[in-house]
């Protein structure tokens, strides 16, 4: 009882605050030194194949893609190319083609032509360097009974050898490239955004892997890398885009980009080229003479979960 309770509390408060400040400062210094040491030790242990310290630190302090200067983008691409060389022994080219003015990409899929052979899935996996083990596939083909539009009753795992099965129809689902994308609104760090050509992209170096975007997407079009993606070196597509099919690390979310590495060079997405029935139509929604505009203006057109207000730029149609 030598001190009054007020004095005791004040003394304890000052001590605690000081302790916290000093502790936080020491912790920050230790973490910084620790991370640098860990990177240096890992590099030393792994020898010449390991990431250099400058690359490791460069990646660690890399800015958001939209905030990078042209020089910083070039450095980031250099790091990706060196990493690909080490990991896959491949010479890759990573492009940064910007959106083309006056272009908004749209997609239409003829559900009366789709036979469910999943060639689109195979082509997508090969083109976009998605993981083979565990499998990551941007396109899911659902098998439904004729006349049934309830996706809850769809079969995702039908046997491809038997298609098309009588009494069934097939509904491929992939990123709808929504014009009002809920995934973008959900991202707490702005790692995903919609480009001017309507493609929603991800900065894979900025994604923190919280998976809020996956929860927000009503089409389940986003996929999380629970482990490091596995791709055989000979299967790697070396024609890459920074916001597209470059190799992704573990712990980030990825998605379809309408094959941004192709579409921004005037080519069709891989799924369009691979479809054996010609069910897929891709083009510029702002061009009145494009194939996709013809479909939208002349065919019976459907939208998936249209009532949610996501404004998908991916339409389904029938002949």
């Amino acid at each position: 009882m030598a001190e009054s309770p007020g004095v005791a509390a004040r003394t304890f408060g000052i001590t605690r605050r000081l302790a916290l400040k000093v502790g936080a400062a020491l912790g920050a210094v230790a973490a910084l030194l620790g991370s640098r040491n860990a990177v240096a030790q890992a590099a030393k242990a792994a020898g010449a194949d390991a990431e250099t310290l400058s690359d490791a630190l460069g990646g660690l302090f890399q800015k958001h893609y939209k905030k990078m200067s042209p020089g910083e983008v070039k450095e980031a691409i250099g790091r990706i190319e060196r990493r690909a060389k080490r990991q896959y022994a491949a010479d890759v080219t990573v492009g940064t083609e910007p959106p083309v003015e006056g272009v908004v990409f749209g997609y239409a899929l003829n559900i009366s032509k789709c036979k469910g052979v999943r060639k689109c899935v195979e082509a997508c996996v090969a083109e976009n360097n998605t993981s083979r083990d565990p499998q990551v596939q941007y396109i899911r083909v659902l098998e439904l009974d004729h006349g049934d539009m309830n996706l809850n009753r769809a079969d995702h795992y039908y046997e491809a050898e038997t298609v098309p099965r009588p009494g069934k129809f097939y509904l491929p689902i992939q990123c709808m490239q929504c014009d009002n994308p809920p995934c973008v609104a959900a991202c707490p760090v702005e790692a995903t955004w919609q480009e001017r050509d309507g493609i929603t992209v991800v900065d894979y170096d900025w994604c923190i892997g919280c998976r809020y975007c996956m929860t927000a997407c009503p089409y389940s079009a986003r996929h999380f890398n629970w482990s490091a993606p596995t791709i055989a070196p000979e299967a790697l597509n070396t024609d890459m885009h920074y916001l597209g099919n470059r190799p992704r690390p573990r712990g980030v979310v990825e998605k379809c980009t309408f094959c941004i590495q192709r579409s921004r060079k005037g080519r069709q997405p891989a799924c369009v080229e691979a479809c054996p029935t010609g069910a897929r139509v891709f083009g510029n929604l702002l061009d009145p003479n494009s194939d996709v505009r013809y479909v939208l203006e002349n065919k019976t057109v459907f939208r998936l979960k249209e009532e949610l207000g996501t404004e998908p730029k991916f339409w389904y149609f029938t002949d």
Partner: protein, 82 residues
Amino acid sequence: MADQRTGSLESPTLSRRDFFTRGLPGRVAALLGSGLAVTTVDPAAAVTQTPAVDASARDLRKMTRDEVREALRRIRAQRRAD
């Protein structure tokens, strides 16, 4: 998504989607329906309680010409505004 939901939504009388999208009368009817389904042993009897209109049919909705034109107009307008 759908594969994860299939297990819990195969009941023909009540789906989570029905519950949240059919308004108060729909909710009451859906709950009533599910209660009946629990007490009913015969699956055929449960099927007879299936709502006449399946709310999930809206998953793939047919668009009118006007709606398509309006969607394209919004896209054009948004690009001009950017």
